[in-house]
């Protein structure tokens, strides 16, 4: 079932060109829509749990906030603070704060993230997931950090207001 190669070559060319135009069109369009953020919004299942002002690290929480005095440690599916198991967090509810480190509970387990005052960026330090894609991403202040299996996302946006007077 050999096909005459000449017309197929042209059809291929058309198909490839169409795909290239669409793909690179989308890519260049996206370059103009960069959102650099001053605020980082940490979300579970697309609902903002808390936000961090990247400029000064100040936090704005929309969920229960527990401030602790020593660095939380994730061991498997448990959260240890000062070697004591902490159960206060629910999946998608609550945040534990130690200085610039934050712990929330995602769908698969605890997620530890931190804000760097020097870099003015955020990174996910550790999380429970099979491939650890989002903790390998490193620091960011514009590209969203997506921890898909945990339903946790960090997006960056402008200082968010409901009305301007």
């Amino acid at each position: 079932m050999k096909i005459n190669n000449k017309p197929q070559f042209y059809r291929d060319l058309i198909l490839i060109s169409v795909v290239l135009i669409v793909v690179f069109g989308i890519y260049f369009f996206s370059l103009f829509n960069q959102t650099k953020g001053e605020m980082a919004h940490i979300q579970y299942d697309n609902k903002i749990l808390f936000s961090i002002n990247l400029e000064n690290g100040s936090r704005e929480s929309r969920t229960s906030t527990y401030i602790v005095t020593s660095m939380p440690v994730i061991e498997g599916d448990k959260l240890l603070i000062n070697n004591v198991i902490d159960n206060r967090l629910d999946t998608g509810d609550g945040v534990i704060v130690f200085e610039n480190s934050y712990v929330i509970k995602g769908r698969l387990g605890y997620v530890l993230l931190e804000y760097s005052p020097e870099k003015k960026m955020i990174q996910v330090v550790e999380e429970t997931s099979p491939y650890n894609i989002c903790s390998n991403q490193g620091f960011s202040n514009s590209a969203p950090i997506v921890c898909l299996p945990n339903y946790v996302t960090i997006v960056f946006g402008d200082i968010d207001v409901d009305v301007i007077m």
Partner: protein, 168 residues
């Protein structure tokens, strides 16, 4: 179907599954699960050595068995690889049936469709934040598709005659 065909297709599925799983541990674009898609080579080979029906079967089997064996099982991320895989397999099959394009072009389209499927699934089911990564993933899927298409093409040229039912 002959025993030879059955065995060959089964081996194809097995190879595709293994390739799929090994690939999943190699990060290419940080922050995403973007893969080159070497497992798609198998789908392409089957589509052009045998036919669309066989390609669908092998493809779907690869997705499901790969899902079973993967660390995260049938969780939320499975829906992504399922939809992505489905879109790319459908692209291969449809283009194979229409039969108007060469293998490399088909591979490129199916690679792009894989990304499209993943992004759509993620946007509707999980979060549309992933749309941020769509452009870069789409751009990278083009050379990835060309590469896998090229490899499949080479393989088929080298093994011409091995698969008795259909000639390339």
């Amino acid at each position: 179907m002959s025993v030879k065909k059955l065995v060959t297709l089964s081996i194809m599925v097995a190879i595709a599954v293994v390739v799929n799983i090994v690939e999943s541990f190699i990060p290419i674009v940080p922050g995403t699960a973007f893969k080159i898609g070497f497992a798609n080579i198998i789908t392409l080979i089957v589509a052009y050595a045998y036919g669309p029906k066989e390609a669908i079967t092998v493809g779907l089997l690869r997705i499901f068995i790969g899902g079973l064996l993967s660390p995260s099982g049938f969780g939320p991320t499975f829906m992504l690889s399922f939809t992505g895989g489905l879109f790319s397999i459908i692209a291969v099959v449809v283009l194979r049936i229409i039969n108007k394009n060469g293998l490399i072009a088909v591979s490129m389209v199916s690679s792009v469709m894989h990304v499209v499927g993943q992004i759509l699934a993620a946007s509707f089911l999980l979060t549309d934040v992933v749309a941020y990564y769509a452009p870069i993933m789409l751009v990278l899927s083009v050379p990835a598709g060309i590469l896998t298409g090229f490899l499949a093409d080479r393989f088929l040229k080298v093994t011409e005659g091995w698969f008795q039912e259909k000639k390339y």
